[in-house]
């Protein structure tokens, strides 16, 4: 009788494994999945406060967002950042990684730390610093005036194109080092002998980089791409703190507009905000899927 009840060694180990997993799983379910399901349910409701009720038709919020010029504008802004900023940032990151991977370089650690340091700065504080640097009476205007490049102060954050430019510059400053670290890690996994072989075969630096480094780094490149797309689509702090969406809402991002619909501007419209959040989710999922499809050449 007793022998039957006793678990085998394998079963015991399995049980222990489940025990370890269950806590984390429960927490993810409660903290992450449950709110997501709730948000999905909320996205089928409409109205504010006491008038919060089921939408009629059920997909009212989802239809509404495509008729909402402001939301479409925020989608456009976000994609603009995505298309311009992500490629520039990743190319810069890979070049920097290549430079700093040089074995003969002195003070490599110092340089690497310098490039990575911006990532240690909080999003809000760096946004506010960029805001003051690019203020009409700010540092950039002062330097440009002293160097006689401009005669009158530029209102960087007051004009659409310059405001977008400032946001993109800020993003590049903040995130290049972060991506560089991934590339550095990837580069260090490449055997030096591969390069020696290339050298013996007479490949120049460019060919080595293009035909050896890039293909070998491919998994890392895809990962950084997905992360960058994901991050840019959810851009929030820069839009809120640097420009507050202005001028005339031409720099507002999707997440910022979602926030404005839930807090920020009076009584909350949580149903609509949730629906827009799911739109962002679908966008991220589609883009990530495309990225994986394009990047994966294994089968």
């Amino acid at each position: 009788m007793e022998k039957k009840k006793k678990m085998s060694l394998v079963a015991k180990q399995r049980a222990a494994g489940w025990m370890f997993l269950i806590l984390a799983t429960a927490m993810i379910v409660v903290m992450s999945f449950y709110p997501m399901v709730q948000a999905l349910i909320t996205s089928f409701k409409t109205g504010t406060g006491k008038n919060f009720k089921w939408a009629d038709p059920w997909n009212y919020n989802y239809i509404r967002m495509f008729q909402d010029k402001m939301f479409m504008k925020s989608v456009g802004n976000t994609f603009l950042y995505l298309i311009i900023q992500v490629p520039i940032m990743l190319i810069l990151a890979i070049l920097l990684a290549q430079l700093l991977n040089n074995k003969d370089l002195k003070f490599r650690g110092l340089f690497r730390t310098c490039v990575f340091l911006p990532c240690a700065v909080s999003l809000v504080s760096y946004s506010l610093i960029f805001k003051s640097i690019f203020a009409t009476q700010g540092l950039v205007n002062m330097i440009l005036t002293k160097m006689h490049i401009i005669s009158e102060n530029i209102n960087w954050l007051g004009q659409t194109n310059t405001a977008r430019f400032v946001i993109i510059i800020a993003l590049i400053w903040r995130w290049t080092g972060y991506n560089m670290v991934f590339y550095l890690a990837g580069l260090q996994n490449i055997e030096y002998s591969v390069y020696e072989a290339a050298k013996i075969d007479g490949a120049n630096a460019w060919k080595t980089f293009w035909y050896m480094t890039v293909p070998l780094l491919k998994p890392v490149i895809i990962m950084t791409f997905i992360m960058s797309i994901n991050g840019t689509l959810q851009l929030f702090d820069e839009s809120v703190n640097l420009t507050n969406g202005g001028p005339a809402n031409t720099t507002i991002t999707m997440s910022h507009y979602i926030y404005n619909n839930s807090f920020g501007q009076g009584v909350a419209n949580f149903g609509y905000a949730s629906a827009m959040s799911f739109f962002v989710l679908i966008l991220v999922a589609i883009l990530a899927a495309i990225n994986l499809k394009v990047g994966d050449t294994r089968d």
Binding site: M36, N230, N244, F263, V280, A285
Partner: protein, 464 residues
């Protein structure tokens, strides 16, 4: 293929979990905005305050003793001294009385606290009383009726309080709020700069906007200073100018931008002023206060009178300012109000009787009103709307910063002339799109098209 499908699922799961932040922001769990959000509100504290200590939303909001009340407020130079004055005044009838003032970093923190509490159905996070912005309160009472306790049986004589002020806090015929500050707009000019250009304060009183623009161009050419500045990220200029005309951007609850001739003419004044360097449209609140006003770039300030403490930070300009009425399109003297807030009892209040008695005795015009409003004025520069309290001597005193002008009496007198115009729950939506229209027209767009676009968008947002 299987592996690919799996990887797609994993990728979406990954992004999903990263998105959970978004999802839960739409839920009720997100924390209220931090102090970076502090800048835009009409009643925003001077920029220094934005960095002031941040009261956690779950801070101790409970009022322990039988004689204690808790209250949210947000400006330690302005409305918090007013509350302290009221606390002191009420202690004469209840010596054990204690007001637990919890400082918030901005008015939007109070709004977010109510939003969170109401949507989660857990009012226990709210204090007994909150200070709330006038333009927002209608919307919040309509949407979250359970969050408030009205003041109908508090025994306040409502006719003793400014009618325009009370019109905000009266919802569905019921009085909800006890007024604190009066938002009467002032138009202040630097008399020394006007003099330098050959004008006096009388030359800018009761003039048309057209004439005002001429003077502005003159001042700009001679001194390089702007005649006016405004935070163009929360631009109250169109609203105040419309009110001075006695007109509204609203008609029968709907936005009235298209075909509204007064609005169009006013926007043209702003656009011309901005193009000609007469009006400095700032990108945000701190540029407005720190760069334009404290940075001494303007010869005029036009805003709710709560802007006075900001002006007074430039002590070397003391004695050079004077306050007058607002220009209008026709040239009559204009009066407007902007901002201002009132105190509201939340449904979490465990001692509503005490709270009502306190509000009625102090800000509501009861026996402690004169003591309250006098100290509020002395310590915070808060000008009330209580008619009986404004008879007090303190209100008649001349102010050195304004060259001995008895500005408080003047402001109270001006406040009595502010016309009541149609208001809307969507005041700030209208503000957002009108200011966007101004920006776009300055950058070359056509005003009629922009007004049509703004009206469409506001109507769309009203459709929820």
């Amino acid at each position: 293929m299987k592996r690919k499908a799996l990887s797609i699922i994993l990728a979406s799961a990954m992004s999903l979990s990263l998105l959970a932040g978004c999802g839960s922001a739409a839920e009720q769990t997100a924390a209220p905005a931090d102090d970076a959000q502090a800048q835009t509100e009409t009643e925003a504290a001077p920029a220094a305050d934005a960095a002031a200590e941040e009261a956690a939303p779950t801070a101790d909001v409970a009022s322990e003793g039988e004689h204690e009340l808790s209250v949210y407020a947000w400006d330690k130079n302005f409305n918090i001294p007013a509350l302290e004055a009221a606390e002191k005044a009420y202690q004469t009838v209840d010596p054990d009385f204690k007001l637990n003032i919890i400082e918030q970093s901005a008015s939007s923190d109070v709004e977010n606290a109510v939003t969170l509490a109401a949507n989660s159905g857990d009012y226990s996070q709210l204090p007994d009383i909150v200070l709330f912005q006038d333009h927002y309160i209608q919307n919040y009472v309509t949407n979250y009726p359970d969050a408030w306790i009205d003041l109908e049986d508090a025994g306040i004589d409502w006719s003793n309080l400014g009618a325009e002020k009370i019109s905000y806090s009266t919802i569905g015929g019921k009085h909800y709020g006890a007024p604190v500050d009066n938002g009467t707009a002032i138009f202040a000019y630097r008399t020394d700069i006007l003099e330098e250009c050959g004008y006096t304060i009388d030359d800018v009183t009761g003039i048309t906007w057209e004439r005002w623009l001429e003077i502005g161009r003159d001042v700009k050419a001679k001194t390089g200073k702007y005649l006016l500045s405004m935070d163009h990220n929360g631009d109250d200029l169109p609203y105040m100018m419309m009110q001075a005309e006695g007109q509204s951007q609203w008609k029968d609850g709907q936005p009235y931008f298209v075909g509204n001739d007064t609005l169009k003419q006013i926007l043209e004044v702003i656009i011309t002023g901005a193009k000609d360097g007469v009006i400095y449209l700032c990108n945000d609140w701190s540029e407005y206060t720190d760069t334009s006003i404290i940075g001494d770039q303007v010869a005029g300030v036009f805003n709710g009178n709560w802007i006075i403490p900001t002006m007074e930070q430039v002590s070397e300009n003391s004695g050079k300012w004077a306050i007058t009425t607002i220009p209008t399109l026709s040239g009559k003297e204009g009066y407007a109000a902007n901002g201002g807030s009132s105190l509201y009892i939340t449904s979490n209040c465990s001692k509503p009787e005490l709270a009502k008695a306190f509000l009625a005795y102090t800000f509501g015009g009861g026996e402690g009103a004169i003591a309250t409003y006098d100290d509020a004025l002395r310590n915070g520069g808060v000008i009330g709307t209580c008619i009986s309290a404004s008879k007090s001597d303190v209100y008649q005193e001349g102010v050195d910063f304004f060259n001995g002008q008895s500005i408080y009496a003047d402001i109270v007198a001006m406040g009595a002339n502010v016309p009541v115009v149609e208001q809307s729950d969507y005041h700030y939506n209208a503000r957002t799109y009108i200011q966007a229209a101004i920006t776009n027209v300055i950058n070359g767009s056509d005003l009629d098209t922009e007004l049509q676009g703004a009206e469409d968008q506001v109507k769309f947002e009203m459709g929820q």
